[in-house]
Amino acid sequence: MLGLLGLPFGVFAPFAVWSGFRSLRRIRAADGELTGETSAALGLAAGLLGVAALIVGTAYWFLAS
C-alpha cells in the first residue's frame, strides 16, 4: 500500500522501500510460515520507483532553477 501511495505522493516512497525491504527479509527468514512475498516485492519496487522519481525531480529543481 505504501508503495502504491509513494508513486503519486513521493513522501511515502522512502517508507515503502523500508517497509518492503524489511517485510521481504522477514518472509524469507520465516521458512514458509509467512506469506506475501509478491506484495512485499512489488511494494519495494514501487517504493524504489517513487524514490528514484523523487531524487531525479529534486535534483532537476536544484540544477535547473
Binding site: P8, L42, Y60, W61
Partner: protein, 572 residues
C-alpha cells in the same frame, strides 16, 4: 493462478508508475530535450510588435519583442467582462450577464451606466485610453467560460465579438492584451449556501459545474473552502464527463479568432487554479501542469504528451490532439496553483511543461493579504510570515520560472488602498529588482473606500452612475511609473522613486544594439539626462507623457530623470 495474480499486480504497479510521478518526470525530461516548434514565417504585421520569450543561457527567460529586446508589461485588470452573479435571490444563480455582451451597446463611444447592483463597472473604450495615459502598455482582460460556452458545444460568437472589440480598442490605444480565462471558486453555479456570496464567484457554466450533491458552504470565510467548490474543481481536473475537453475546445475557439493578431500578447489558461481535494505538489505536477501541456498541444499543434484518449481522465503523461489552430506565436501564461499564493513558496517541482518556447510563469503576489499571516489575522506591518519577506516569493519564482523554462510575470497584485504605502510599494520594488512586469488588480471597482480599484468607487447617489470616482492619489503616484518598455540589455537595473519622481537606469550596450525605450508618464516632469548613448529622442504625446528612445553607443550607459514634483491627474 498465482502467476497470473503476480502479473496483474506487477502491471498495476507499472501502470500506476507510468501515470504518476515516474511517468510525469519521463515526459517532462523528453519535453526538455525536444526541439521547440518555430513559426514558419514572420507573423502578420500589426500595430504592435509580436512578443515572444527569449531564452538566454544560464539566466531566466524573458518576454521580448521582434528585436529581441526585453519587454516589461505594465497594466491593470478591468473586471467588466466577467460573468459575476447579480440579483437579490441567491437561490437563482443563473442571472444573465449584467452588462450587455453585444458590442453594439458600446459602439461609437457609448458606455452602459454603472450600477451599485454589481461589484464592477462596465468596460468601455474610455477605460483603455485612460490606461494608456497612465503609461500602461498592456491590459489583462478576464473572461468567463460561462459566457464563452453557455451551452455545451455552443460557443458565443457575440461574446467573442465583444472581446474582439476590446482588443480593437487596446490596439488603438497601443496596449497589449493578455486574455485571461478567469474563474473564482470555480463557478457561481456551485450554488448558494451558508457564507457563500455568489457575487464573488465566476468561471464555469452551469452544465460544467459538477458538485455531486456536496453542500455549498464557506468555511473560515474563504470562498474556495467550500465542499461544493472542492468537488467541482476536482471533477474538472479529472475530466469528469469530458468537461476539461470542452474547456480546451473553448480556448481553441478563442485562439482561432486572435491567431494572427499581435495585439493579443497571449493567453492566461486558468486563473488561480484551486486543487479541489488534491494535494500539492501532486496537484500541480500531475494534474495542473499536464493540463497546461494538453492545452498547448491543442492550440499549437505540437505533440509533447503521449497520444491518449480524450473525454475522460487523462493521466499526467497524456498529450492532446491538434485542434487545428496552429498558433505558435502567442505567449502562454501559466498560473501556479492557488496555494502558492497562500504560501509564497513553490508548491510544485518545476518540471518542464512543454517544448513550446513562449511560456510565462504567472504568479499572483498577495503577500500579507492571502498568505498564512493574513489568514491568522496578523497585520502586514507586524506579520511573522513570509520569513523571507516580500523577497521570498520573488526569488523563488525566479527559480521556478528557470526550472520551467518560462519568463516571469506578476499576473495579479493589489490590496486595500489603506495598505498601499506598505504592500503595493514593496511589491513594486521587488518587481523592479527582478525585472518583472505586472497587472494590477483591479482597474475600477464599486463599493466603499476599501474597494480595490485604482479609482475611488463611483458615487451611487447620482444618475446615471459614472464608472468611477477620481483616480486615487497614492495609486497614481505608485503605479504611473517611469519604466523601460524595451531594452536590448536584459541585465539592466533601474529604479523609480515615486516620492520624488526621479528615475535611474544603468545598462550595458553594444554599438548597433536596438534602442532602449523608456516610458515617462505625464505625472513625471523631471528633466532627462543620459550618458553613454547617442542623442536621445523624446516624443511627447498630447497628454504629456514622454517616450524616450536612447541608442547605446557601446559600453555602459545610463538614463536619469531628475526629481521634480509630481503633477497628479486625480480627477483631471
Amino acid at each position: 493462478m498465482r502467476l497470473v495474480a503476480r502479473l496483474v499486480a506487477a502491471l498495476l504497479v507499472l501502470g500506476l508508475a507510468a501515470f504518476t510521478y515516474p511517468g510525469a518526470l519521463a515526459v517532462s525530461m523528453v519535453v526538455r530535450l525536444t526541439a521547440p516548434p518555430m513559426a514558419a514565417s514572420p507573423g502578420p504585421t500589426g500595430d504592435l510588435a509580436w512578443l515572444h520569450v527569449e531564452h538566454p543561457a544560464q539566466a531566466r527567460p524573458y518576454i521580448a519583442d521582434e528585436q529581441k529586446r526585453m519587454v516589461l508589461l505594465h497594466g491593470a485588470i478591468p473586471a467588466g467582462l466577467i460573468d459575476f452573479w447579480t440579483g437579490t435571490d441567491q437561490s437563482r444563480p443563473n442571472s444573465p450577464p449584467f452588462y450587455p455582451i453585444d458590442p453594439a451597446a458600446y459602439a461609437g463611444g457609448r458606455c452602459p451606466a454603472n450600477s451599485p447592483a454589481i461589484r464592477y463597472p462596465p468596460l468601455c473604450r474610455a477605460d483603455l485610453n485612460q490606461m494608456a495615459e497612465l503609461g500602461f502598455n498592456s491590459v489583462r482582460l478576464p473572461l468567463s467560460w460561462s459566457l464563452l460556452e453557455p451551452e455545451r458545444g455552443h460557443f458565443s460568437q457575440t461574446y467573442l465579438d465583444r472581446v474582439a472589440q476590446v482588443v480593437d480598442w487596446a490596439r488603438a490605444a497601443g496596449l497589449y492584451v493578455i486574455i485571461d480565462m478567469h474563474q473564482n471558486a470555480y463557478s457561481r453555479y456551485v450554488g448558494p449556501g451558508t457564507g457563500v456570496d455568489l457575487s464573488y464567484l465566476s468561471g464555469a457554466p452551469s452544465w460544467a459545474t459538477l458538485t455531486d450533491g456536496f453542500p455549498s458552504r464557506v468555511f473560515l470565510g474563504q470562498r474556495e473552502l467550500n465542499p461544493a467548490v472542492f468537488e467541482a474543481d476536482s471533477n474538472f481536473w479529472y475530466d469528469r464527463d469530458g468537461i476539461q475537453d470542452e474547456y480546451i475546445a473553448t480556448l481553441a475557439f478563442l485562439a482561432k479568432r486572435f491567431r494572427d493578431d499581435s495585439t493579443v500578447a497571449g493567453y492566461s489558461l486558468f486563473n488561480e487554479p484551486w486543487p479541489g481535494w488534491n494535494l500539492p505538489p501532486g496537484f500541480e505536477d500531475l494534474l495542473l501542469f499536464p493540463f497546461y501541456r494538453r492545452v498547448i498541444d491543442a492550440i499549437t499543434g505540437i505533440h509533447d504528451g503521449l497520444p491518449c484518449w480524450t473525454g475522460l481522465f487523462m493521466p499526467a503523461p497524456c498529450g492532446y490532439p491538434d485542434l487545428g489552430v496552429h498558433d505558435v506565436r502567442h505567449l502562454v501564461f501559466l498560473d501556479t496553483g492557488l496555494l502558492r499564493e497562500v504560501t509564497d513558496f513553490p508548491t510544485h517541482l518545476g518540471l518542464p511543461v512543454s517544448s513550446y518556447l513562449n511560456l510565462v510563469l504567472a504568479v499572483h503576489a498577495y503577500t500579507h493579504i492571502y498568505t498564512f499571516d493574513a489568514l491568522a489575522h496578523q497585520k502586514p506591518a507586524q506579520a511573522s510570515y513570509p520569513w523571507g519577506g516580500y523577497e521570498q516569493s520573488y526569488s523563488l519564482a525566479d527559480r521556478e520560472a528557470k526550472a520551467l523554462g518560462a519568463a516571469l510575470f506578476v499576473a495579479e497584485f493589489g490590496d486595500s488602498p489603506s495598505d498601499d504605502s506598505l504592500i503595493v510599494a514593496n511589491q513594486l520594488l521587488e518587481q523592479e529588482k527582478h525585472e518583472i512586469g505586472f497587472a494590477f488588480w483591479t482597474w475600477k471597482e464599486n463599493g466603499g473606500k476599501s474597494s480595490w480599484g485604482m479609482f475611488d468607487a463611483a458615487r451611487t447617489d447620482v444618475s446615471p452612475m459614472s464608472s468611477s470616482g477620481c483616480l486615487r492619489t497614492a495609486r497614481e503616484r505608485l503605479l504611473a511609473r517611469v519604466y523601460p518598455l524595451a531594452s536590448s540589455d536584459p541585465g539592466l537595473s533601474y529604479h523609480y522613486n515615486s516620492d520624488t519622481g526621479s528615475f535611474s537606469l544603468i545598462g550595458h550596450g553594444r554599438a548597433g544594439d536596438s534602442p532602449t525605450v523608456v516610458s515617462i508618464p505625464p505625472e513625471v516632469r523631471g528633466a532627462v539626462a543620459v550618458s553613454g548613448t547617442a542623442v536621445p529622442v523624446t516624443e511627447t504625446s498630447p497628454g504629456g507623457s514622454r517616450l524616450l528612445t536612447v541608442t547605446p553607443s557601446g559600453g555602459p550607459f545610463s538614463i536619469a530623470v531628475a526629481a521634480a514634483p509630481l503633477v497628479l491627474l486625480g480627477c483631471g
